[in-house]
């Protein structure tokens, strides 16, 4: 049976390319519909729901793991302002930390990812921190 490569601390500091995401009205509406979010500005597609940055998906070279073995442990977002339809955000995600802990079911690997989003002038719009747990 193949085992995916173990995540090791040498991954710390690796990062994605900077990716430009356009916040589309239709994508906001689709997200709000899936969540059954009743916020009027989100239903109209004018303002993105707070967790919308989760749609900005990027890959970090060298970071691979089996999705089915990953638990999402924690998530944080900080905002300078909400995202709006028509925004163009430059995003990047990097490996902030990797560490092992013993769990009830054996060793677990914690992977901390830090994400940043800026507007076209380079001003911060939001940041995110993901804690993923690999069993």
């Amino acid at each position: 049976m193949d085992h995916p490569p173990t995540l090791t601390r040498d991954l710390i500091g690796r990062e994605s390319e900077v990716v430009l995401f356009e916040v589309e009205r239709g994508a906001i509406r689709k997200f709000a519909d899936a969540v059954q979010d009743q916020t009027a500005a989100c239903v109209r597609g004018d303002v993105a729901p707070p967790t919308f940055p989760t749609t900005f998906r990027m890959t970090i070279p060298g970071l691979t793991f089996d999705l089915a073995r990953v638990l999402h442990g924690a998530q944080e977002y900080r905002y300078e302002r909400p995202l709006r339809a028509g925004d163009r955000v430059r995003c990047r995600v990097r490996v902030a930390d990797v560490y092992q802990r013993k769990g009830g079911l054996g060793p677990m690997t914690f992977l901390i990812l830090a994400m940043e989003g800026t507007d076209e002038s380079g001003s911060p719009v939001f940041s995110g921190k993901t804690t993923a747990i690999l069993r």
């Binding site: 994508a27 689709k30 997200f31 519909d33 899936a34 969540v35 059954q36 979010d37 009743q38 916020t39 500005a41 989100c42 303002v47 729901p49 707070p50 967790t51 989760t54 749609t55 998906r57 999705l67 089915a68 073995r69 990953v70 638990l71 999402h72 442990g73 924690a74 998530q75 944080e76 977002y77 900080r78 905002y79 302002r81 909400p82 921190k129």
Partner: protein, 134 residues
Amino acid sequence: MIDLEKASVLPHLRKPPITKLQLVKYAGASGDYNLIHTDDETARTVGLDGVIAHGMLSMAFLGEYLCWLAGPESVRRLSVRFNEMVRPGDTLTCRGRVKERTAGNDGSRLQLEVWTENQRAERVTVGEAEVVIT
């Protein structure tokens, strides 16, 4: 919007029961195609009884809760831990309380304790948030 200046225990927001269709829609809308959320067979191969909801869906409920309480322009931070699994058929309710209120140049900043609980009153997703009130 709620009068947060006076509130300590915040009003609650009850969401409709989670359905498998909602998980498929959320997978598409969010781009999280991990099959443990949409395919029972895959979920069983990792020891689950069947599909579980995306943790981010319950976080999205809390995001809506903050918008409902304070307005979508007012949300400055949302930080959560995913403590318990959520399954189709579960009904989540968002709850919260004001922890701290500080006055700033642009109005008040409120530190909130927020969580979603299921129909068994288990806190499945717990966290903290900051909103500004002008």
